[in-house]
Every structure is written in structure tokens, then in C-alpha cells.
């Protein structure tokens, strides 16, 4: 059982829902990334997702694309990210999940990548361009290393396929809220709640919703049908804004902390 499995077991037992922030590793620096993750851990985020910058992220909208471009331009490398992650996993209690493109894993060599991720204390991987049909070798490497391999289901996934994906997913199942790319949306699809509920009733795997979520209303609306909610662009937009205004980093960390707190406060109150 990975740390993610344990975390969701505890949360389900306590009737709690996870808020999962996404942070680009190395935008604007790994020191900053570390400070943000520590802040969000202190505030009670149950998991944290680290985005590994990639030059050609097809599933990402302008905010995360720009964030990846800035991180790469600042010179972040996979080895630096792994080193910082290793430090972080010793200083926070929240399990860390890496969102990483297969191009990067393939270049590193999949088995070396998995062992380095485990050594850095990473608990799970989200590989957005790894489909069910191609995933068996990677899944076996992750299984041997007790690393969760979190799969994605989207609104265009046929239901029968969604079930097969859920069966293969470990840690949690990532339910992509919209057919599209990452980025804040004011409105989410009207059938989202029903679709997530449908899948969640048919799998033991925890289900978390991501893409487009940015407002406390989203959290109030979606948390009851899911195990967790993922927020990315709304956080990285604040990093980008701080870059424009040359705000000092301590202040940005505090602002992100306060913003995420408004989402944490919108989660349903735990059973007592």
C-alpha cells in the first residue's frame, strides 16, 4: 500500500475530503516550490501534486504552459527536482504525487525513473499521455516499487472503458471534469456530478476531480461526490501574477496559502 492508499483510507474513515494543490516544480525556483508545498502542508492539504515541467504539454492550458516554460528557462532539471522532492518528503506529511509526461520518463529510462522517484519519497505518478493500452510495463514497474499509478478518465471516455481504467488505477482515479485542457473555468459541465457519482459507485478506488476547479463554490458542489479535488491553474496564476508585479516570494507563498485556505474551508465538515 502506498502512502496515498493509507491517506485515503484514513480520510474515508473520517468522512473527510482531500484538497490537492498542483504546483509546477521550479517556477520560479525550487526553493519557492518547496516553501509553497510546506505552507500548503501546514494548512492541511491532504496530498500535493508536483508538475514536472515539459516543453510540449498538450493537455495544459496557457497558465501551466507558461509556468513550465518559465521553470525550464530558469534551468530546472529532473535531477534538481528529484533532489528537492527528497528534501520535501522529509519535511512534510502530505504524500507527493508527480505529474510527469511520458517523454521525460522514457528519456530517463522507465525503471531508473521509478527507482529515483521512490528514492525521493514520491508516492504516486500521474502520466497524462500514458493510455490504458500502453500502460502495462509502467504499471508493473510501479507495482513492484509500491508507487501508485494514477489513471485518468475524461468526459469522452466511454463508460465501459472508464470502468476498466478505474480497475487499473492505484492511489486514486483522476476524473478530468471537462473535455479540454487545464485552466480555470467559471462553469463546469452540468452532468459532471452524475458522471463522477456513476464511476465512484463502481470502483473501490478513490475518485478525485481535476481541471477547471478554482472557486469555493466548485468545492462545495463537487466535494460530496468525490474523494478529493485538484486545483492547479488557479495557484500557478498567482505565481505568474507575482512575477509580473515582482512581489517578494514570502508574500506570494502567504497569498497562495490564504487562497487555498478558502478552498479548504469550503470542504464539508468531517463526521465526528
Amino acid at each position: 500500500m502506498s502512502a496515498i492508499d493509507t491517506r485515503f483510507q484514513e480520510m474515508r474513515a473520517a468522512g473527510r475530503k482531500a484538497l490537492i494543490p498542483f504546483i509546477t516544480a521550479g517556477d520560479p525556483s525550487l526553493t519557492f516550490t518547496r516553501a509553497v508545498v510546506e505552507e500548503l502542508d501546514r494548512r492541511g492539504c491532504s496530498l500535493c501534486e508536483l508538475g514536472i515541467p515539459y516543453s510540449d504539454p498538450i493537455a495544459d492550458g496557457p497558465v501551466i504552459q507558461a509556468s513550465y516554460t518559465h521553470a525550464l528557462a530558469a534551468g530546472v532539471t529532473l535531477s534538481n527536482i528529484l533532489a528537492t522532492t527528497g528534501d520535501l518528503t522529509r519535511s512534510v506529511t502530505t504524500p507527493l504525487v508527480m505529474m510527469v509526461s511520458l517523454a521525460i520518463i522514457q528519456r530517463r529510462n522507465p525503471s531508473r525513473f521509478v527507482s529515483e522517484a521512490v528514492q525521493a519519497g514520491v508516492s504516486g505518478l500521474i502520466i497524462p499521455d500514458l493510455l490504458l493500452e500502453e500502460a502495462a510495463p509502467m504499471a508493473e514497474l510501479c507495482r513492484q516499487a509500491d508507487l501508485s499509478l494514477i489513471r485518468l478518465v475524461t468526459p469522452t471516455t466511454p463508460r465501459e472503458r472508464a470502468i476498466r481504467i478505474a480497475e487499473q488505477s492505484t492511489g486514486f482515479l483522476y476524473y478530468v471534469s471537462i473535455a479540454g485542457i487545464t485552466g480555470e473555468r467559471s462553469e463546469l459541465p452540468p452532468d459532471l456530478v452524475d458522471n463522477v457519482r456513476w464511476v465512484r459507485e463502481r470502483t473501490a478506488c478513490p475518485v478525485c476531480i481535476g481541471f477547471g476547479i478554482s472557486q469555493p463554490e466548485h468545492v462545495r458542489h463537487l466535494a460530496p461526490v468525490a474523494d478529493g479535488l485538484i486545483v492547479g491553474s488557479a495557484i500557478m496564476r498567482r505565481v505568474a501574477a507575482a512575477r509580473e508585479l515582482a512581489t517578494n516570494e514570502t508574500q506570494v507563498v502567504a497569498e497562495i496559502g490564504q487562497y487555498v485556505q478558502t478552498l479548504l474551508d469550503a470542504l464539508p465538515v468531517a463526521k465526528t
Binding site: L78, E134, T156, T157, A179
Partner: protein, 411 residues
């Protein structure tokens, strides 16, 4: 997912397999959101290629709308100038819209209609695929959006004007290197949000399964005609066949029908740019390694972390860090030999062909012409080399003049 790159004994025409593999290359590495559309496309294509009415309609368009077959022309003065083998030009530049790209866009426009979709998106580098897509969309009454890097919009502006006149919307791409690779990224992102109503007419033999196969099949008309024309005009098959390779669609269409004829040597010419250092060329088969880009596993220019490298070519259509997976397969099996030709050699070949034969070749095709001229010079006069003249050079004339002026003002 961890395919070996070990060399295979012989190349087969019977590729890709059901999962889109050409040997270890190809496959499908895209976000889950696109799976449904790719499966839908595969099903539509499998049905269409077994449907005689589909093929008849496409053949009719190729004959009466595109002007096929394109001539196979004996470039006698150019051959004499080189002093060796006979050079024959497969005149794809004479197609409607001035390049081979229309062969693919008409086929995919028919598939779009078959799938009941009303909107088309495309990427373009040199603008030839953009024009060919805009043309096919006008012909079939489909809405058309073309993504084009802002650097390419600048250097291929005649094609931008044409696309707009044909009713297409040209969306400038300002991320990354502002060239073909970034245009593909943005087209794919558009498709992520529009898969229900939109077909993505990809312009080369790249991308996730089934695109590399579909584009190769639609372009294979080039090689099929060449085989027949050689038998009729030369009385035999050619000794060598040469084509330029960016993503590799004209080369794939030219080579594929010859794959099972081992005595015909096949040569692909990549863009050598201004040197062999990363960033100075666009030659992944020559200098790169297998990796993943734009949904398939193939040779690519990547850094040590797997980030795609910036590449350079004077030719917008070859200025791409990846290549179609079937070319990687042909390289691994040794069926096709890949080489490079630099910016200056391509410009020189552009001049040679213009002055000796009265033909302005596209800068892309000029790379293949340059290599053919070198090759022909070393071969005896009874040998025949066919080169795919994949497009015409009108689009490049102004940019070539500008480059000459800037070189002249520096010296």
C-alpha cells in the same frame, strides 16, 4: 512502452500493427480525452478504405480537381550539368495548390464528412498543408482553422494570404519556437476541447495512431504513380529514389510503394541547417534518439531530460524536431538511407533547378534536389534517380530574396 531499437531484418509493407506500431516505433501517447476521437477516426478509415465508393470519389477528385497523375519529368539539362545519372522529377509541384499536401487533405476531408463532423483544424509550417486544408474545406463546405507559428507566418506570408482568401482562419502561435512544433501543440489543444465536432487534419506522417498510417496511405499515390511511370517511360524501375524529410509525408508516400523492391535504393534527406550541433539543424534521424513527441515514439531531438530541442532550418516545412515513426522503422531496418543537406546547399540547388530547367522548387524540395545532384554526379549515365519535387517555390521567392539581401549587406 520500453521498445528496443534493435535493428530488424527487413522492412515490411505490412505495418503498422493493430496498436499502430512500425516495429518498435509509433503507438499512441496522448491524453485520454483524444482516445475516443482517434478510435472513431480509425473505424471510419477502416470502413472507408474497404468502401469502393469512397475510393472512387477520392480518385475522381485526384484526377479532375488536383490534376493527377502528376508528370514524371526527365530533367535533361540538370542531368547534363551534374554529369552523371539521369535525374527525373516527380512533379508534385504541379498539383492544385502547388504541393503534395492536397493528396492527404482531400482524403481526410472525405473522412471528416463521413464522421459527420463540420469543423476542421490543422497545423502548418510552410503553409502548404494549411493552404491544402483550407482548399479541401472550401471544396466540402467545412469550417477551417489553421494554427501557424508566428515565425512561419512571417516567412511564408503568401500562403497566409491564400488561406484567408479560401475562408480559413489562421491563428498565430506565439509559444515556444513559434514554428511547426508549436503549431501542432496548439492544434492538439484545440482538439482536446472540440473532439465532438472537429476533425484534426494532421499534415504529415506524424502524431498518434492512426494518423501516420492514414497520411502515408493517402500520399502513396505519389510512389504508385512513379512506379508505373518509370515502367512506361524508362522501361524499368528507377535505381534510386530521393525525397526530403521533415515530418516525412512526401517521402513516406514516395517510398512506401517501393519498400518491397529491394533493388530500388531509397534516400531521405533531412534539413542539415547550418551545422551538426543541436539547435543548428532539423535532422532527428541523423543526430537524434528515439523518444516521444506529439503522440508517437520515433526519432526526435531531445535534451538529456527529454525536453524537445529547438531546431533550425531555412525551410519552414522541414523545421521540425521529430519525424514520422515509419521513417524510424525504415532507418532501423536499413531499408531507407537518411542523410542531410544544409541551408546553403538547398539554396544553391534552388538556383540550379531554376536556371537549368525553369522550375522554382520549394525550399523543402530543394534539399532533396541538392542531394540528388551530388548523388547523380557520382553515378554512371545509365542510372536513373527519381526525386520527389514535393512543392513549388513561389512561396519562398520573397524570403530567398530577403536572405540574399541580408547576406549581401553583411559582406
Amino acid at each position: 512502452m520500453n521498445p528496443s531499437t534493435a535493428s530488424e531484418p527487413t522492412a515490411s509493407q505490412n505495418v503498422p500493427d493493430a496498436s499502430g506500431r512500425f516495429g518498435p516505433f509509433g503507438g499512441r501517447y496522448v491524453p485520454e480525452t483524444l482516445t475516443y476521437a482517434l478510435d472513431q477516426l480509425l473505424a471510419a478509415y477502416d470502413a472507408a478504405r474497404n468502401d469502393p465508393t469512397f475510393q472512387a470519389e477520392l480518385d475522381g477528385l485526384l484526377t479532375h480537381y488536383v490534376g493527377r497523375p502528376s508528370p514524371l519529368y526527365h530533367a535533361q539539362r540538370l542531368s547534363q550539368q551534374c554529369g552523371g545519372a539521369q535525374i527525373w522529377l516527380k512533379r508534385e509541384d504541379l498539383n492544385h495548390t502547388g504541393a503534395h499536401k492536397i493528396n492527404n487533405t482531400l482524403g481526410q476531408a472525405l473522412l471528416t464528412r463521413r464522421m459527420g463532423k463540420s469543423r476542421v483544424i490543422a497545423e502548418t509550417g510552410a503553409g502548404q498543408h494549411g493552404v491544402a486544408t483550407a482548399t479541401a474545406c472550401a471544396r466540402f463546405g467545412l469550417e477551417c482553422v489553421v494554427y501557424m507559428g508566428s515565425e512561419d507566418i512571417r516567412r511564408q506570408s503568401p500562403n497566409v494570404t491564400s488561406m484567408r482568401m479560401l475562408g480559413a482562419e489562421v491563428r498565430p502561435v506565439t509559444t515556444g519556437s513559434r514554428t511547426l512544433r508549436d503549431a501542432i501543440n496548439d492544434a492538439m489543444r484545440d482538439w482536446m476541447s472540440s473532439v465532438e465536432s472537429t476533425h484534426y487534419i494532421i499534415g504529415s506522417v506524424v502524431g498518434p495512431h492512426p494518423f501516420p498510417r492514414i497520411v502515408r496511405d493517402f500520399q502513396s499515390v505519389i510512389g504508385c504513380e512513379t512506379r508505373e511511370q518509370c515502367l512506361r517511360q524508362l522501361g524499368r524501375l528507377p535505381d534510386r529514389v530521393v525525397a526530403c524529410v521533415g515530418g516525412g509525408s512526401n517521402a513516406a508516400g514516395m517510398f512506401y510503394p517501393f519498400v518491397d523492391v529491394p533493388q530500388v535504393k531509397l534516400i531521405g534527406v533531412e534539413a542539415g541547417g547550418r551545422g551538426s550541433q543541436p539547435g543548428d539543424h532539423a535532422s532527428p534521424l541523423t543526430y537524434g534518439d528515439p523518444g516521444i513527441l506529439h503522440g508517437s515514439y520515433s526519432y526526435v531531438m531531445q535534451d538529456a531530460d527529454g525536453q524537445t530541442c529547438d531546431v533550425h532550418s531555412i525551410s519552414a516545412g522541414l523545421d521540425y524536431p521529430g519525424v514520422g515513426p515509419e521513417h524510424s522503422y525504415w532507418k532501423a531496418t536499413g531499408r531507407v538511407q537518411y542523410t542531410t543537406c544544409g541551408d546553403q546547399a538547398a539554396l544553391d540547388a534552388f538556383d540550379s533547378l531554376a536556371r537549368s530547367e525553369g522550375i522554382l522548387a520549394a525550399l523543402e524540395s530543394s534539399h532533396a534536389i541538392a542531394h540528388t545532384m551530388q548523388l547523380a554526379a557520382q553515378l554512371p549515365p545509365h542510372e536513373a534517380v527519381v526525386v520527389c519535387l514535393s512543392g513549388r517555390g513561389d512561396k519562398d521567392a520573397a524570403e530567398i530574396a530577403r536572405l540574399r539581401d541580408s547576406i549581401a549587406s553583411r559582406t
